[in-house]
Subunit: 183 residues, 2 copies
Amino acid sequence: MGRRSDTRERIQHVALELFVEHGYENTSLREIAERLDVTKAALYYHFRTKEDIVHSLIADLVTALDELLDWGRQRPSTVETRQELLRRFSALVADRFEPVMHFIQQNIPAVKKLGVMHPLGEKLRELFALLCADVDDPEAALRTRLALVALVLGLNPIFGGAQATPPPDVALDVALELVAPRG
Amino acid sequence: MGRRSDTRERIQHVALELFVEHGYENTSLREIAERLDVTKAALYYHFRTKEDIVHSLIADLVTALDELLDWGRQRPSTVETRQELLRRFSALVADRFEPVMHFIQQNIPAVKKLGVMHPLGEKLRELFALLCADVDDPEAALRTRLALVALVLGLNPIFGGAQATPPPDVALDVALELVAPRG
DNA sequence: GTCTATACTTAGATAGAC
DNA sequence: GTCTATCTAAGTATAGAC
């Protein structure tokens, strides 16, 4: 039998790479095709549109978040649960979704235009809600948001990005502290 | 004499508005011109290129940051100084530069491509350095970055943006706490 | 499953009249 | 200082051969 091709996965990988590097709108299908040494038309065989590539990328993330949320929902709302949620989210980002998160964070206009925020934003808001639990304090809510931001901040070039990206475990420690009750 | 026109300022204002709304690359000069009810060519009278509009927008921010840094440099490196730096930065953002910060944060690829990160990134890194002072702890450094992020987080739609933007004073309180020594 | 060739659209930018 | 008209380059996408 003919060797099965992993072209589709390679397109996803290279496209994401370029989207992160140059931004979504500054990346043309021609560039993607060239880096893969295929033609533009080949891309259109695997994906209906350029937007579809992004959708396929986000879909995996949404699935993973859904599983995380499923776990979180059927656990008692305790500090331990919330901290374990952060740990698992941190691991998810570090292990599999760092590039996608990077892409999303730095291409908000594109992401909004593609209507990707609907499924994704929902999941993120629910994660946020689980982490906030019953707390109604606006300061605590902001600290919770910052805890999540801390876990993906290594990806942000603003405010001293390049020189010192915090290691994931440092970020996790700070995040855990942010959702812990005050002293 | 003929009535002097404020067209240049109006272009800056409308352009920034559209850049924030739809993103830099999704905003065409045609759109800007239409919203101002002038023609594309009129824009080219006031700005050499589309990129120049962005440069003019960032320049004001860089100037303001420079003044803030001047103040900070000639003060003793104390907790009070650092907290006052945060207060002044917070006021700067809230009063004048919220839209520009919003634009920068959500259009990183464009901003990088325009080479705007050189003057701007320098200032932000120096602000960060002043806030970090002599502290060498990576956790403290991350908390400092988060303090800055907190002050512009209202602009970020990720992680529960739309429904509850923290009021500036809440953000400032959390930021101040993040740079204060631990208990 | 991959290619060639091309249609279609829109972008940024310029020249020159008024 | 603003207009009309136009140029050039690039993008996404399609049709149809191999």
